[in-house]
């Protein structure tokens, strides 16, 4: 199949990306808490074209028993992509990529969940990717944090994840689909926005030290914006109760500030919360690395980076589950 993107410029002369965004702009994000009935806590999150649904069960007894930790609880995150979530159908069941993402997500969450408060139990976090469009692990972790709060699980703090990187020799915030496949570097990053503690960090591609530090800075600032969206989603979910404590009766409730969507999949436009305004001080396009510039001048395509976020199944699929038939 011929590659439609091979000659495409990921960033044009005006600093505009393929999807019309500026370099420092987030994709539209919509977050909704408490959307599922059976799960103890849940969150539906749309991030660009990503659609992620997270359900949390717990704390609950651990099975099998030998996995119990007598001193503290464990957090088990399971990242799963639906077969229809990617352009080439994925066979149902976890592949190696999903296993790795599940692991680093569990670890990121264990950094904030106060597991000491419930020994011998597990908190199960199920991340279902219904539609994938680059950055699903970050969307998953961000949604998981909301779902855990919704479930009333004690946590030190919320967690936000976001991936920035380098595309077409520019450092860019919130890497999108084509950018992920054909960009030069990708840095998924999970952080506690309030304290700046980093709980998830991966990198692939090629960055100088200064570029890397700038990317971290971009991620950090954007994380604060996403945190506000998380908080708003939780407040909206419980807006009826926000005026009072359990057992009390309140004054007539003021109408909720933002309309509560009746369902995450409602026909409302994806960008319900609109494009975030971007940074208050727009970043100047960072200086391009000299080596890269030289390459461009000679007319070669930018080196193809093997993105982590390859939605297409990458062949080393070890799942034996044939799905049903």
């Amino acid at each position: 199949m011929s590659d439609p993107y091979s000659n495409m410029k990921l960033v044009d002369e005006n600093g505009v990306r393929l999807d019309g965004r500026r370099l420092d702009e987030l994709r539209p994000i919509r977050i909704e808490a408490g959307v599922l009935n059976r799960a103890d806590g849940s969150c539906y999150l749309e991030w660009g074209n990503n659609k992620v649904l997270v359900g949390v069960y717990g704390p609950r007894e651990v099975h099998p028993k030998h996995m119990q930790n007598p001193l503290r609880g464990i957090v088990q995150a399971r990242y799963n992509m639906a077969s229809f979530s990617v352009s080439e159908r994925k066979r149902p069941g976890p592949d190696r990529r999903a296993v790795e993402i599940s692991k680093i997500t569990s670890e990121a969450l264990e950094a904030v969940v106060l597991v000491d408060q419930f020994p011998r139990t597990t908190v199960d976090v199920y991340i279902e990717v219904l539609e994938a469009s680059a950055g699903t692990r970050c969307a998953g972790l961000t949604a998981a944090s909301v779902a855990l709060a919704d479930a009333g699980i004690p946590m030190k703090d919320m967690v936000v994840a976001i991936a920035s990187g380098k595309i077409g020799d520019h450092l860019a915030l919130d890497i999108g689909r084509a950018e992920d496949n054909f960009g030069q570097a990708d840095v998924p990053f999970g952080v506690i926005p309030r304290t700046g503690e980093i709980v998830l960090l991966q990198m692939d591609g090629h960055l100088t030290k200064e570029e890397f530090e700038t990317v971290i800075e971009m991620n950090m600032r954007a994380a604060m914006q996403v945190y506000e969206l998380q908080k708003a989603a939780l407040v909206r979910r419980y807006s009826a109760f926000a005026g009072l404590a359990p057992g009390e009766e309140s004054e007539p409730a003021a109408p909720a500030a933002a309309p509560v969507a009746t369902g995450p999949m409602a026909a409302a436009p994806v960008a319900e919360l609109g494009h975030p305004e971007g940074f208050k001080e727009p970043l100047a396009p960072p200086p391009v690395d000299a080596k890269v510039e030289a390459v461009l001048v000679e007319g070669e395509a930018a080196p193809e980076v093997e993105g982590e976020e390859v939605e297409e199944p990458n062949g080393d699929d070890e799942a034996s589950s044939g799905g049903g038939y």
Binding site: D40, G41, G58, P59, R60, E61, P70, L71, V112, L114, Q117, F118, P119, R120, T121, A149, D150, A151, G152, I153, P154, M155, K156, D157, M158, I192, R194, Q230, K231, L234, V235, Y238, A240, F241, A242, G243, L244, A245, P246, G247, E248, E249, S250, E251, P252, A253
Partner: protein, 396 residues
């Protein structure tokens, strides 16, 4: 008979009973919803309560809920979450497993709770556990112990703790329990009244109800309204009206009726109060009178007794010459003579003033009495005069 109400009225979160701060218009201020990680207080003197932890000099929320800073504590009243057992909680459990000397109780918590045969009010022989409680049975128990690693033990020994016969069990989010109970049991009384169901609410979110199937259904509807609680304002009234309508009672008329009944009750009580007061006053008055009367009688009795006593003493007492001499010494000649009794020949009895004879005067002595005195003494009067005048005659 242990009362159903014992479980109903235990408050879930005592901290929530703190008085709500009010704004300048007197209305309670809206509470703030916080997410984990939000700072609750920056004051180093504030201590972390439930749902919060200390980070340096700050108190930070650890669960989603309502911020509550009061009495030196910063805490978060949770809106959800699993029920984590605390010692002393009274909960409803279900028997899920059974052993020869214990049962396993599901208390709607991540932690299974064993209950040993020592913790029930019956005497259970080894291996006879199934005779008392079987898997599926519902019971009211209290959380007896919770260890560090959250090993939980429950006990059925205590007032109100028992096996629940029949009925249906319902599970709600445990954070909604205070709403179902209502302030001072107001909500649960409404449900009981209009559905006629027996109702027990455990702090772990399990609710037991017993009644006709229709009434149970109605009670479930009421509880559903409460937990959905979107219209938190006037929730008790809303539930009440719903139940009334379901029972064919017109809420408006019923409210009027209730108001009327309340008024009548008030009047009746006022009347009774007044009557009681009047009766009390009357009684007090009567008591006082009686007391007065009694005192008077007592005084009189005392006086009489004293009199009698004195008289008796006088009568019975042996003649006391000192006393006679006293009289004789003190009495003048005139008095002596006056008191003499001429009836006795040659002897005159002298009487003391109170009529008792004191002595007898012979003639000689009598002769010494002044003449006038003798007049009253009959025949021997003149003769005696002569004698007196001439005291030296012999043998008379």
């Amino acid at each position: 008979m242990p009362s159903d109400d014992m479980v109903d009225l235990v408050p879930q979160y005592p901290e929530a009973a703190v008085r709500r701060p009010r704004g300048p218009d007197g209305k309670p201020l809206p509470r703030e919803l916080v997410v984990p990680g939000q700072v609750l207080a920056e004051d180093g003197n504030v201590k972390p309560g439930m749902g919060a932890y200390r980070e340096g000099g700050r108190i930070v929320a650890s669960t989603l809920g309502i911020k509550n800073v009061a009495g030196g504590y910063a805490s978060v009243i949770p809106l959800g979450g699993q029920y984590i057992p605390r010692v002393g909680d009274v909960v409803i459990g279900r028997i899920t497993d059974i052993g020869p000397s214990n049962w396993l109780v599901d208390i709607n918590s991540p932690y299974p709770a064993p209950m040993h045969v020592n913790e029930v009010p019956w005497h259970v022989e080894f291996g006879e556990t199934s005779n008392f409680l079987k898997p599926g049975d519902a019971i009211i128990v209290k959380i007896a112990r919770v260890t560090e690693s959250k090993r939980v033990q429950v006990s059925m020994q205590g007032p109100g703790l028992r096996k629940l016969q029949g009925g249906q069990l319902l599970e709600v989010e445990h954070s909604k329990v205070p709403r179902i109970i209502g302030t001072q049991g107001s909500m649960i009384s409404v449900i009981k009244k209009y559905t006629g169901c027996r109702l027990v609410v455990g702090q772990n979110g399990l609710v037991w109800m017993d009644g006709t199937p229709e009434d149970i259904g109605l009670a479930m509807e009421a509880i559903g309204l409460i937990v959905e609680g979107a219209h938190a304002y006037g929730l008790t009234n809303k539930v009440k009206e719903h139940l009334q309508r379901a029972k064919g009672i017109d809420p408006v008329k019923e409210a009027e009726e209730e108001a009327r009944r309340a008024r009548e009750e008030q009047e009746r009580r006022a009347r009774e109060e007044a009557e009681r007061r009047a009766r009390d006053e009357e009684r007090v008055r009567q008591d006082r009178e009686k007391a007065e009367q009694a005192r008077r009688e007592r005084d009189e009795r005392d006086a009489r007794r004293r009199e009698e006593e004195r008289a008796r003493i006088e009568r019975e007492r042996p003649r006391d010459t000192v006393e006679e001499e006293d009289y004789l010494d003190k009495a003048t000649d005139d008095e002596l003579c006056r008191d003499a009794d001429p009836g006795k020949q040659g002897l005159v009895t002298v009487l003391s003033p109170d009529g008792e004879s004191l002595m007898v005067l012979d003639e000689e002595e009598l002769a010494e009495c002044p003449p006038e005195k003798k007049e009253g003494q009959g025949q021997g009067g003149e003769g005696q005069e002569g004698r007196n005048a001439d005291d030296t005659q012999e043998g008379q």
